[in-house]
C-alpha cells in the first residue's frame, strides 16, 4: 500500500469572556450551582428577543483580524434550527451567510518550524445548555445557554495530531493574550470537532472524511486524530476502505476511541435563515481600526523579537511568551535597561520558581521589574554577590519590603579602608603564621582569607580582600 497522508480539519469552539451573555442580560459566568445565571431570553419564554452584546462582537472581530480574515461590511446573524432539549428556542443564533471572518490564515510553530494554517471562517454564536445524563434521568443546566461562543473553522490543512494540537495551543494563547477567553479546557471553555481523512501520498483527491464531535480536551484531540488515522489506515490496508464512510462519530474519553453517531444520510437540515430580530449592523473601518489597536503584540511575534533582537535562547523565549503577563514583565525589564539574558534568567529561575511554588501569578507578586533592576544593578556594581542577591530576592518577595531594608546586612565590605583595619587587626594576632607564610608556606594565604571572612561574616569583598592581604603579607 502507498504511504498514507492524514488530512485533518478542526472546528474549535471557544467560550468568550463577558459580563453578560451574547444575546441576553444574564450573567456569563461558570457556576457549580445549576440554573442561576439565566434569564427569560435564555429560556426562550414566548415573546423574548435577543439583544447583541457588542463586547462579544468586538472580541470576535479581533480574532477575525488576528486570523487575517476578510471582514463583512455588515454584521448579520442566522438561525440554525433543530430540536434538542439543550436548545430552548429550538434554534441557535449563529452566523452562516456572513461570519465575522472568512478566508483567513495564520502561521503557527510546530516543532520550531512555521507552518501556515488556512482558516475557512470564524463566527460568533451562542452556547447551548449543558445536559447531565444519569442512569435513568437527564438534568438540564441552562447556565451555559447563551454563553458567547466563537467557532473557528480551519481548512483541512493539518497532517498530524501534533500540528492540530499546536494550532489549538497557539489559538488558546492568543485568546488569553487578548483577554478574550480563559480558554480553560477543564471548564469546557474549549471544545473541538475534528475532521479526519487519509489519502495516498501522491493522490490529489481527499479521502472519505469522518467528523468526530465534542472533543473537549487537547489530549482528546490528539487521541482522536491518532485513533482515526490508525483505524482508517488499518481498514485501507485490509482492503476494507469502503467501510470508512462519511459519518459523524464521537470521542469516547474512557477508551480513547471514537464511536459512530450517525451517517451523512441522517445529517440534519438546519434550515438556516437570517435572524430577523437583529437588524444588520454596519462594521465601520473606524471601529475595526480601534479594535486593531487594542490587539496586543501576540506571542509568536514576541518570541521572534526575543530571539532575533535580544539574543534569547529558543528555550528561554518559549517560556517567557507562555503567558502575556510574564512576557509583559520581561519587556518591562528590557525597558528599564536590564540585560535581556539576565532578565530572562531571573524570571525563569527565580521568579517563575517562586510563582510555581506559591501558586500565584506574575502580575500578583510585589517584586516588580523596577525591583529587579535595582537588584541586578547592585550585582553589576559589585555591591552584592549573586548569592546575596538571591537571598535578598527571596526575602523581599516574601515580606514585600524594599531591597534597601536588607542591604545593610547583606552588603559586601568593599571599602578598602574598612577592610584594611580588619585585616591589620587579624594580622596583629597571627604573627607566627605570617612568618611561616613568609618562609614559604604559601598555602597559608587561604587561612588568612578564611579569618577575614569569618570576622566579616562572609561580607568582605573577596577580590579586594585577596588584593589587600597579598600586599600586606608581602610586607
Amino acid at each position: 500500500m502507498k504511504k498514507q497522508i492524514p488530512v485533518i480539519g478542526l472546528e474549535m469552539h471557544c467560550e468568550l469572556k463577558s459580563n453578560s451573555k451574547v444575546f441576553s442580560r444574564a450573567k456569563n459566568a461558570y457556576s457549580e450551582i445549576p440554573n442561576v445565571n439565566i434569564s427569560a431570553v435564555d429560556m426562550a419564554f414566548p415573546g423574548t428577543l435577543p439583544v447583541v452584546n457588542k463586547k462579544c462582537v468586538a472580541d470576535a472581530l479581533k480574532v477575525s483580524l488576528i486570523l487575517n480574515c476578510e471582514v463583512p461590511e455588515y454584521l448579520v446573524f442566522d438561525r440554525k434550527n433543530y430540536y434538542y432539549p439543550d436548545l430552548p428556542k429550538g434554534y441557535q443564533i449563529t452566523q452562516m451567510a456572513k461570519p465575522v471572518g472568512i478566508n483567513g490564515h495564520i502561521d503557527i510553530e510546530v516543532n520550531d518550524k512555521l507552518i501556515p494554517v488556512l482558516i475557512h471562517d470564524v463566527h460568533l454564536e451562542e452556547d447551548t445548555a449543558s445536559l447531565d445524563h444519569y442512569f435513568d434521568t437527564t438534568t438540564i443546566d441552562y447556565n451555559r445557554c447563551g454563553v458567547p461562543l466563537l467557532e473557528l473553522v480551519t481548512e483541512p490543512c493539518f497532517h498530524s495530531a501534533d500540528e492540530a494540537v499546536a494550532f489549538i495551543e497557539h489559538m488558546r494563547n492568543i485568546y488569553r493574550y487578548c483577554d478574550i477567553s480563559d480558554a480553560d479546557t477543564k471548564k469546557g471553555e474549549i471544545r473541538c470537532d475534528v475532521n479526519v481523512s487519509i489519502m495516498d501520498e501522491d493522490s490529489k483527491e481527499l479521502g472519505i472524511k469522518v467528523e468526530v464531535k465534542n472533543v473537549n480536551s487537547i489530549s482528546g484531540v490528539s487521541e482522536t486524530i491518532k485513533y482515526e488515522i490508525s483505524r482508517q489506515t488499518k481498514l485501507k490496508e485490509e482492503g476494507r476502505y469502503n467501510e470508512v464512510v462519511q459519518e459523524t462519530r464521537r470521542y469516547d474519553e474512557e477508551t480513547g476511541t471514537t464511536i459512530r453517531m450517525r451517517s451523512k444520510e441522517d445529517a440534519i437540515d438546519y434550515k438556516y435563515f437570517i435572524e430577523p430580530n437583529i437588524p444588520k449592523f454596519k462594521i465601520t473601518e473606524k471601529w475595526l481600526s480601534i479594535l486593531k489597536n487594542e490587539i496586543p503584540k501576540l506571542p509568536l511575534e514576541r518570541k521572534y523579537n526575543y530571539l532575533n533582537n535580544y539574543g534569547l535562547s529558543n528555550y528561554d523565549a518559549s517560556i517567557i511568551i507562555k503567558e502575556k503577563a510574564i512576557s509583559d514583565y520581561f519587556e518591562e525589564c528590557l525597558k528599564l535597561g536590564i540585560d535581556p539574558k539576565v532578565s530572562a534568567n531571573w524570571i525563569i529561575t527565580q521568579i517563575l520558581g517562586y510563582i510555581n511554588k506559591n501558586d500565584t501569578s506574575i502580575d500578583k507578586i510585589s517584586f516588580t521589574p523596577s525591583k529587579l533592576k535595582e537588584l541586578t544593578d547592585l550585582i553589576a556594581s559589585n555591591t552584592i554577590s549573586s548569592k546575596q542577591a538571591k537571598d535578598i530576592f527571596n526575602k523581599v518577595i516574601e515580606t514585600k519590603k524594599e531591597i534597601k531594608d536588607y542591604l545593610t546586612e547583606n552588603t559586601q565590605i568593599s571599602d578598602s579602608n574598612e577592610l584594611e583595619t580588619i585585616i591589620d587587626k587579624i594580622l596583629a594576632n597571627n604573627e607566627t603564621q605570617i612568618k611561616e607564610y613568609q618562609n614559604g608556606r604559601t598555602n597559608l594565604f587561604d587561612y588568612f582569607v578564611g579569618l577575614v571572612m569569618k570576622e566579616t561574616k562572609g561580607k568582605a569583598n573577596p577580590v579586594l580582600t585577596k588584593e589587600l592581604l597579598t600586599k600586606k603579607l608581602q610586607g
Binding site: 427569560a40 426562550a44 419564554f45 414566548p46 435577543p50 430540536y83 429550538g90 430577523p276
Partner: protein, 483 residues
C-alpha cells in the same frame, strides 16, 4: 365606555365618574359581550382602579390581545400549547400602558398565535361579529376588534403580521392602526413572523389611536429593531390640515373593469370607495390613479405565505412543553415534544409549519424562501419609489364587509385575491398603515386604508384624521343589524 379617551379623561378629572365605575362598566360589558360573541380568553374580574393623573390613559380600562405577555395573567396565544401559561413579565407595550395608569380588564381571543384571518381558530372557539353574529370579525385580532366595536373600552391592543389589526377593524367598523416597524417594541409579543410582526391598536377614533401609540412608543433596549421616535408626537400632529397632500390608489385593485365577474357587493364596495375619494378631494388632497405591474401584486399572497410560514415554524420551535406549557407524558424527550405539539396545535397551524419547513429546506430554500425575500424587496422598492411622489396610498379594505362564518366561501378570481391581500404590503415594508370605517354595505361596516412610507406616521394619521372628520362613522358602536 362609548366615549373617547379624552372625554373619559375629562369625566375622571372632573370626578363625574371614577376609575372604579369605568372598570365595573367595562367588566359588565365584557361578560355580556363574551356570552354573545366569545371575544375573551380571560376576564379580569378583580381588576383594580388606579389614581387619576395628568396622563390621558390614567384610570381607563383596556383590552390586551392574548398574545401579549402579561405578568401574573394567563396568556395563551389562543393555543392549547400555552393553555396554562402565566408569564412572569409584561410585554414592553403593556408595561408602558400600565405605567400611564391604564387598567387591563380582559385578554382577547385571537386566531391561534395570530396565524389566521378569521377569528375562528382560537382554542376557546370562534369570535362572532358584533354587527351580525353569523359573520366573522376577521382576524387575527378578532376579540380586540369585537370588544372595541362593542364599546367594552375605548381601545385594545392588537398585533398585525399580514393585516391582523387592520382587517378586523374594517369588519367591525372601527379604527385599526399599526405604526412603522420598530416604533413599538415587540418584546413580550408572542412572535408569528418576526420580520412582519407589528404591534397595533384598535380604537373607535383616529385621535385615540394616536394617544395610545404615543403612550406606548419608544426605543426599547429589549428589542433591537426599535428606533428612537421621541421627536414624533402623533397626538399633536392631528391638525386636520391635509391641503396639497398627494395620494394614490392602485388601478389594478380599484378599477371594477379589472374584475372578470364582480359580485354586486364588490361593485358597491368599490363605488363606495371612489365616492369617499371624491369626498376626501374636497379637503384639498390630490388623489391619483397609479398602475402597478399585476405580476408584482399577484405575488403578494405567496410571498406572505412563504416568509410568514418560514419564520413561524422557527419562532414556535420553543413550544415544546418542556419549560412551559403542558408537558408531554412520555419518558422520551422527542416523544414528549411530539405529544405536546401534536395535541396542542390546530390543523391550520400544522399546515403552516409544514409549508414553512418545506420552503426552508436546503433544496427548496433558493427557489421559495430566498425568491420570496427578493420579490418582497421588489414590492417594497416599488412602493418606496411611489412614496417619493405621493404622501400615501389609499385603498379599500378587502372585497367588502365581513364574511359569513358558515357556508360557501366566495369563489374569488385572481384580482379579487389581490384586494383581499394587499394590506400585507405594509408588513413587507414596515409601513405605517391605518384602517378607518368607510360606511356600510348590506348594513355591515366596510373599511378604507391609508398607508405611507416608513417614519411618516404623523402624515398617515393626520390624513386618516382628516378623512374621518368628513364622515359620520367616528366613534360608532356596533349594533346588531336585524334581518
Amino acid at each position: 365606555m362609548n366615549k373617547s379617551i379624552k372625554e373619559l379623561h375629562e369625566l375622571l378629572k372632573n370626578k363625574e365618574t371614577t376609575s372604579e365605575e369605568l372598570i365595573k362598566e367595562s367588566l359588565t360589558k365584557s361578560h355580556e359581550i363574551n356570552a354573545k360573541y366569545n371575544a375573551f380568553v380571560t376576564i379580569l374580574d378583580n381588576a383594580q382602579a388606579k389614581p387619576i393623573t395628568n396622563e390621558l390613559l390614567s384610570g381607563i380600562p383596556f383590552g390586551v390581545k392574548d398574545n401579549f405577555s402579561t405578568k401574573d395573567i394567563l396568556t395563551t396565544g389562543s393555543s392549547n400549547t400555552l393553555k396554562n401559561y402565566v408569564p412572569f413579565f409584561n410585554a414592553t407595550v403593556v408595561e408602558k400602558l400600565l405605567e400611564k395608569g391604564a387598567i387591563i380588564v380582559n385578554k382577547t381571543v385571537l386566531d391561534e398565535f395570530g396565524m389566521g384571518g378569521t377569528g375562528t381558530t382560537g382554542h376557546t372557539g370562534i369570535v362572532k361579529n358584533p354587527w351580525d353574529p353569523t359573520k366573522m370579525c376577521a382576524g387575527s385580532s378578532a376579540g380586540s376588534a369585537c370588544a372595541v366595536a362593542s364599546g367594552v373600552y375605548p381601545f385594545a391592543l392588537g398585533s398585525d403580521t399580514g393585516d391582523s389589526v387592520r382587517k378586523p377593524a374594517a369588519y367591525c367598523g372601527i379604527v385599526g392602526y399599526k405604526p412603522t416597524y420598530g416604533m413599538l417594541s415587540r418584546y413580550g409579543l408572542f412572535p408569528f413572523a418576526s420580520s412582519l410582526d407589528h404591534v397595533g391598536v384598535l380604537t373607535r377614533r383616529v385621535l385615540d389611536a394616536a394617544i395610545v401609540v404615543d403612550a406606548m412608543k419608544g426605543q426599547d433596549p429589549k428589542d433591537m429593531t426599535t428606533w428612537d421616535s421621541s421627536h414624533i408626537n402623533l397626538t399633536k400632529s392631528l391638525t386636520g390640515n391635509v391641503k396639497n397632500k398627494k395620494l394614490f390608489y392602485i388601478k389594478e385593485i380599484c378599477d371594477i373593469n379589472n374584475y372578470e365577474n364582480p359580485s354586486p357587493t364588490l361593485k358597491e364596495h368599490l363605488k363606495n370607495f371612489h365616492e369617499t375619494l371624491k369626498l376626501f378631494s374636497k379637503s384639498g388632497v390630490e388623489i391619483e390613479e397609479v398602475s402597478i405591474d399585476i405580476k408584482l401584486l399577484e405575488a403578494i399572497a405567496s410571498v406572505y405565505t412563504i416568509i410568514s410560514c418560514a419564520e413561524a415554524t422557527s419562532n414556535m420551535s420553543n413550544l415544546t412543553g418542556i419549560i412551559f406549557g403542558p408537558r408531554g407524558t412520555s419518558n422520551n424527550v422527542t416523544e414528549m415534544i411530539k405529544e405536546h405539539r401534536t395535541k396542542g396545535f390546530s390543523p391550520l397551524i400544522k399546515r403552516r409549519f409544514i409549508i414553512g419547513s418545506y420552503v426552508l429546506q436546503k433544496e427548496n430554500q433558493e427557489k421559495y424562501f430566498k425568491n420570496a425575500a427578493r420579490v418582497r424587496r421588489l414590492i417594497v422598492d416599488k412602493m418606496k419609489e411611489l412614496f417619493k411622489t405621493y404622501d400615501a396610498l389609499i385603498l379599500p379594505v378587502g372585497s367588502g364587509p365581513a364574511k359569513p362564518l358558515k357556508g360557501s366561501i366566495d369563489v374569488m378570481d385572481r384580482v379579487a385575491n389581490i384586494i383581499e391581500e394587499h394590506l400585507q404590503i405594509a408588513n413587507f415594508g414596515g409601513f405605517p398603515s391605518i384602517t378607518i370605517p368607510d360606511g356600510f354595505i348590506n348594513n355591515l361596516p366596510v373599511g378604507i386604508n391609508i398607508t405611507g412610507n416608513c417614519y411618516t406616521d404623523e402624515n398617515v394619521l393626520n390624513l386618516a384624521y382628516a378623512l374621518e372628520s368628513l364622515m359620520p362613522y367616528k366613534g360608532q358602536i356596533a349594533k346588531e343589524v336585524s334581518k
